[in-house]
C-alpha cells in the first residue's frame, strides 16, 4: 500500500508547522510520503453551506487523483488536517450510500476524463502511526523520552467524528497511547473531543473564544504542561487567542499548544527547526528544556 500525502490549504499557511512535523516524523520512521499532484481544496465546512454537490465533486477530484497516482493496488491518502480528513471521508460515505450523488459527481468528473471508483482509503496520520506503524516500534525509536511531561491530548471534533473508524467518536485514546509510548503522561481529559469553536473564533468571537477558553482552563486545571492537537484550526484557536482570552476574561492561561507530531519529533530526537517548533508563539518549554543530547528528558 502506498501513502499519498494530501496537505490541504491550512497546512500551507497557519498549519505550516504541522506540515513540517508530519513530513519530518514520517521521514524519520522511513514511511515514504508522496504529495498528491495538483490537489485542490477539500471544500471544508464553508463549501457545504453553499453547494453540497459541488463540495462532493471537489473532494472526489482529490480522491480520484489519488487513485490514479497510487496505481492499482489501492492507495492510502493521508490527510493531517481535521477538516480535510472529515470532508474526504464524508464524501466517500455519501458517494457509497447514495448512488444518485455518485452518478452526478461522476458525470461531472467524466468531463475531464476522471472517474471516481472508491478505491482510495482516507487515513489520518494518527491512525497510520498508531495502527500501521505501531506503538511498540515507535517506543523503540524514542531517544529522548518525555518523562514526567503531562500532556493534554486534544483530538477536536472532525478527526474522530462521524466517519472515522479507527477510534471512539467521543472518548478516543489513540493519541493518549502514542504520547505514553513517547514516555510522557497523558492526562485524563473528558473534554478531549469538545469543540474549540472552529471558525467561530473569526466570525462570532464572543461564542468562539468561550469554547476555546473552557478547554484551556480545564487542561490547565488538570495540570497539563502542554496541549497537543491533530488539527490546524484547533492549534490556531487554542494558541493564538490565549492573550485575548486572558485580557477579555481576566484569566491566567499560559499553556503551550503544539501538534502531536511536533511532540513526537522531539521525543525521537529530531531537529526542532525541521519540526517547526520555532513557529509556535508559546514555546513548549518544559519538553524542550528537558532535552539535552544523549540524556533522557525529565522535568
Amino acid at each position: 500500500m502506498n501513502y499519498i500525502y494530501y496537505p490541504g490549504c491550512s497546512l500551507h499557511s497557519t498549519g505550516k508547522a504541522y506540515a513540517e512535523s508530519v513530513q519530518t516524523v514520517f521521514r524519520a520512521l522511513d514511511i515514504s510520503l508522496e504529495e498528491l499532484e495538483d490537489w485542490n481544496c477539500c471544500g471544508a465546512t464553508s463549501y457545504f453551506s453553499m453547494d453540497e454537490t459541488e463540495a462532493f465533486a471537489l473532494a472526489a477530484r482529490n480522491l480520484e487523483l489519488a487513485e490514479n497516482q497510487g496505481g492499482n493496488g489501492g492507495v492510502n491518502l493521508i490527510a493531517p488536517c481535521a477538516a480535510c480528513y472529515l470532508v474526504l471521508t464524508k464524501t466517500q460515505h455519501y458517494l457509497t450510500t447514495y448512488p444518485d450523488i455518485k452518478q452526478k459527481v461522476n458525470d461531472a468528473l467524466d468531463k475531464v476524463g476522471l472517474h471516481y471508483e472508491g478505491k482510495t482509503s482516507v487515513r489520518h496520520p494518527l491512525d497510520v502511526l498508531v495502527n500501521d506503524y505501531g506503538l511498540d516500534k515507535i517506543a523503540k525509536r524514542v531517544t529522548r523520552p518525555l518523562k514526567g511531561l503531562k500532556v493534554a491530548c486534544y483530538y477536536g471534533c472532525q478527526v474522530v467524528r462521524p466517519y472515522a473508524t479507527f477510534d471512539d467518536a467521543m472518548y478516543p485514546t489513540s493519541m493518549d497511547r502514542l504520547v505514553k509510548a513517547l514516555g510522557a503522561e497523558p492526562i485524563e481529559w473528558p473534554l478531549k473531543t469538545r469543540c474549540c469553536g472552529g471558525s467561530l473564533t473569526g466570525t462570532i468571537q464572543e461564542a468562539g473564544l468561550r469554547l476555546s477558553r473552557a478547554l484551556l482552563l480545564d487542561a490547565q486545571r488538570r495540570k497539563a504542561d502542554i496541549l497537543v492537537t491533530c488539527c490546524p484550526l484547533c492549534q490556531h484557536n487554542l494558541e493564538c487567542y490565549q492573550g485575548r482570552i486572558n485580557r477579555k476574561m481576566k484569566d491566567h492561561i499560559d499553556l503551550p499548544v503544539a501538534y502531536f507530531t511536533q511532540l513526537m519529533g522531539m521525543a525521537l530526537g529530531l531537529e526542532e527547526k525541521e519540526l517547526g517548533i520555532h513557529r509556535l508563539f508559546i514555546k513548549p518549554r518544559v519538553a524542550v528544556s528537558a532535552q539535552k543530547k544523549g540524556e533522557p528528558a525529565h522535568v
Binding site: 500551507h12 499557511s13 495538483d38 465546512t45 459541488e54 471537489l58 469538545r194
Partner: protein, 215 residues
C-alpha cells in the same frame, strides 16, 4: 405550537421594562409552510428527520446550544412543522460549528449537522439570514476563492471577510496577522492549483447537471 423567545429578534431587541410591545406568541396553522420539512429532509438526504423523537440529546451535547436562539431540538421540531421564516432567520443554524456531536449521539441517527447545512444553503439561496452576520459572507468568499484558484489562501479570505463585514475588525486583527506572518504561518501569495480549467469544467458540469430544481 408556542414560539420560543428569540434572543436577537429585531422586534424585541432592546426593549426595557417601561416599553413593552404586545407580540402574538402563537402561530396559526395557516401561516406555516407545510412542505418545508419534507423539502429540507430531501435536501439533506435526511430522510430520518421526520423520525425525531424530540429527546433533546442533540441540544444537551451541542457545545453551542447556550448561544442559540432555538436549541437544535427545537430547530428540528420547527423545521418539521413548517416554521420556515423563524428557522431560516435563526442564529442557530449559523452557530453550528460542524462538530458532529449531535449526529453521533442521536438515537434516531438523524444527520443533524447535514440538516443544519441544508438550512444554511436554503437561507443563503433565499437571502434570508440575519443581516451583517459574518458566517454566510465567509462561506461565499471561500467558495469564490476556491472556484477561482482551486485552493484557499487564509490571509485573503480573512481580508475579504473583514472588508465586507467590519473593516474596523481588521485593525484589531492586524497584530495577530503580523505575528503569524513573521512566524511564516501566513502568506499573502495566493495558493493556486495548476489545472484550474479542469476544476472549472467539473464545477460547471455539476451546475449544469442540477437543472433548475435543486440547489
Amino acid at each position: 405550537m408556542i414560539l420560543p423567545t428569540p434572543i436577537l429578534n429585531e422586534t424585541t431587541r432592546g426593549f426595557r421594562s417601561e416599553k413593552k410591545k404586545v407580540v402574538r406568541r402563537i402561530k396559526y396553522e395557516a401561516e406555516l409552510d407545510h412542505d418545508f420539512g419534507e423539502h429540507i429532509a430531501a435536501h439533506a438526504y435526511g430522510e430520518r428527520l421526520m423520525s425525531c423523537i424530540q429527546c433533546g440529546t442533540c441540544s444537551a451535547t451541542c457545545p453551542l446550544s447556550h448561544y442559540m436562539d432555538y436549541t437544535p431540538r427545537k430547530i428540528i421540531a420547527m423545521t418539521r412543522e413548517g416554521f420556515k421564516e423563524e428557522v431560516l432567520n435563526s442564529l442557530t443554524i449559523w452557530l453550528c460549528a460542524s462538530c458532529y456531536s449531535c449526529l453521533v449521539q442521536c438515537p434516531r441517527q438523524i444527520h443533524i449537522t447535514d440538516v443544519m447545512y441544508a438550512l444554511k444553503r436554503e437561507a443563503i439561496a433565499q437571502g434570508h439570514y440575519p443581516r451583517r452576520l459574518p458566517i454566510p459572507v465567509l462561506a461565499k468568499a471561500f467558495v469564490n476563492q476556491v472556484r477561482r484558484n482551486g485552493r484557499n489562501t487564509e490571509s485573503w479570505l480573512l481580508v475579504t471577510l473583514y472588508l465586507r463585514t467590519n473593516p474596523f475588525k481588521m485593525l484589531k486583527e492586524a497584530v495577530l496577522g503580523l505575528r503569524l506572518f513573521l512566524a511564516g504561518r501566513m502568506s499573502l501569495k495566493p495558493d493556486k492549483i495548476k489545472r484550474r480549467k479542469e476544476l472549472t469544467t467539473i464545477l460547471n458540469a455539476v451546475e449544469a447537471g442540477k437543472g433548475a430544481s435543486i440547489s
